[in-house]
C-alpha cells in the first residue's frame, strides 16, 4: 500500500538532486563575502528547513492519530520525526563545518540560529526513549502523539527566533530589507529545497513501506503458527 508510487518518486528525487547539485557548483555565483564556502548554504539551509517542517508534519500526523485512533497515523508521525532527526544530525554537522570555515569555530553559542536548532534537535532526541519507555502499544502511541504535537508546536518558535535575531553574520534565506539573495542564488536554493523535500518524502515512504511489509510478515507468521480450526484461513488481509 505504502510502496505505491515509490519508484517514480525515487526517480524524481535523484533527478532533482542531480539538477540541484549541478546548479550549486556550475550555475550559482560565488558569494562576494564568503566565497566558495557559501556553497555549504545550499545543503545546510534546505536540510534545516525540511527537518523543521518534518517535525511539524509529524505533529500534524499525531493530531490525526489522536482524532481517529488509527495506528496508521502514529506510524506516519513516528517515521516523519525519525527522518527529521536524521536530517537534523546532517544540519548540525554541516552547520558546524560552515561555522568553522566562516568564523573559525565549530560552534558559536551566541548565534540564536544554531542554539535554537540544537534545542529543537535535543527535544526530539528525547522522543525515542520517551516512546520506548512505555510497553503498552496503545499508550505508547497516544503518549508519543501528545509529545509530537507539543514539540511540533514549539518548532515554529525556532523559525521566529531566527527571523527576529539581529545577527548579520548568519545568511537570511529570503529577501530582507537589505535586498536578499541574487536571482541565480535564489533559484539554486529553491531547487535544492525541493530536492531535499523530495528526498525526505521518498525516505518517509520507503521506511513506511518497509514497516508495513515487516508488520504483514509478522501477522502472516502469527496466523500460520496458530492451530488450524474449521478450515477457515486465519491470515489477516493486510496491516493497516
Amino acid at each position: 500500500m505504502y510502496g505505491k508510487g515509490l519508484k517514480p518518486l525515487s526517480i524524481a528525487t535523484v533527478a532533482m538532486l542531480a539538477l540541484s547539485l549541478s546548479l550549486v557548483f556550475f550555475y550559482a555565483p560565488l558569494d562576494g563575502d564568503q566565497g566558495f564556502v557559501q556553497k555549504i548554504f545550499y545543503i545546510h539551509v534546505p536540510l534545516a528547513i525540511v527537518a523543521l517542517i518534518g517535525f511539524v508534519v509529524g505533529g500534524i500526523f499525531a493530531i490525526a492519530h489522536l482524532r481517529t485512533d488509527d495506528r496508521k497515523w502514529d506510524a506516519y508521525s513516528y517515521v516523519a520525526i525519525h527522518l527529521s532527526v536524521i536530517f537534523g544530525v546532517a544540519v548540525l554537522i554541516t552547520g558546524a563545518i560552515w561555522a568553522k570555515a566562516s568564523w573559525g569555530h565549530w560552534w558559536v553559542w551566541d548565534e540564536p540560529t544554531l542554539v535554537s536548532f540544537l534545542i529543537v534537535f535535543l527535544l526530539y532526541a528525547t522522543y525515542y526513549p520517551f516512546r520506548y519507555a512505555i510497553e503498552d502499544r496503545d499508550r505508547q502511541a497516544r503518549y508519543a502523539s501528545v509529545f509530537a504535537i507539543t514539540a511540533g508546536a514549539f518548532v515554529p518558535l525556532n523559525f521566529m527566533a531566527v527571523r527576529m535575531a539581529e545577527s548579520l553574520v548568519h545568511p537570511r534565506t529570503f529577501a530582507t530589507a537589505e535586498g536578499g539573495m541574487p536571482g541565480e542564488m535564489m533559484l539554486t536554493f529553491l531547487c535544492m529545497l525541493v530536492a531535499i523535500g523530495l528526498l525526505w518524502t521518498t525516505l518517509v515512504k520507503f521506511e513506511l513501506t518497509a514497516k508495513s511489509a515487516s508488520g504483514q510478515v509478522k501477522r502472516l507468521r502469527r496466523a500460520l503458527d496458530a492451530p488450524v480450526s474449521g478450515g477457515s484461513s486465519r491470515i489477516a488481509p493486510e496491516v493497516s
Binding site: 566565497g35 566558495f36 564556502v37 545543503i43 544530525v89 560552515w98 570555515a101 566562516s102 507468521r221
Partner: protein
C-alpha cells in the same frame, strides 16, 4: 584600473579555494555518508524481512503438503 583593484577584493573568496574546498567537500560528503548509512540500514532491514518471508513461505508450503496428503505423516511414523 583603480576601480578594478577596489572591486577585486569584494569578489574574492574569504578563504582561498584550496582551503574552502575542503570544508565544502566535507559538508557534502557528510550528507552523502549519512544517506548511504541510512540506505544500508534500510537494506539490512529489507534483507531481514525477505528472510522472514521465506521462512513463512516454507511453513505455508509444508502446511499445504500436509493438508494435501494427511496420511503421509502417519505412514512416515514408525509402527509401534
Amino acid at each position: 584600473m583603480l576601480e578594478l583593484a577596489v572591486l577585486l577584493p569584494l569578489g574574492a573568496p574569504a578563504l582561498p579555494l584550496d582551503e574552502a574546498g575542503k570544508y565544502v567537500a566535507g559538508a557534502y560528503v557528510v550528507f552523502v555518508v549519512l544517506l548511504v548509512v541510512y540506505v544500508a540500514i534500510m537494506a539490512a532491514k529489507l534483507g531481514r524481512i525477505e528472510r522472514e518471508l521465506r521462512e513463512v513461505a516454507e511453513i505455508a508450503e509444508r502446511r499445504e503438503e500436509n493438508q494435501a496428503a494427511p496420511g503421509r505423516e502417519a505412514e512416515a511414523a514408525p509402527h509401534a
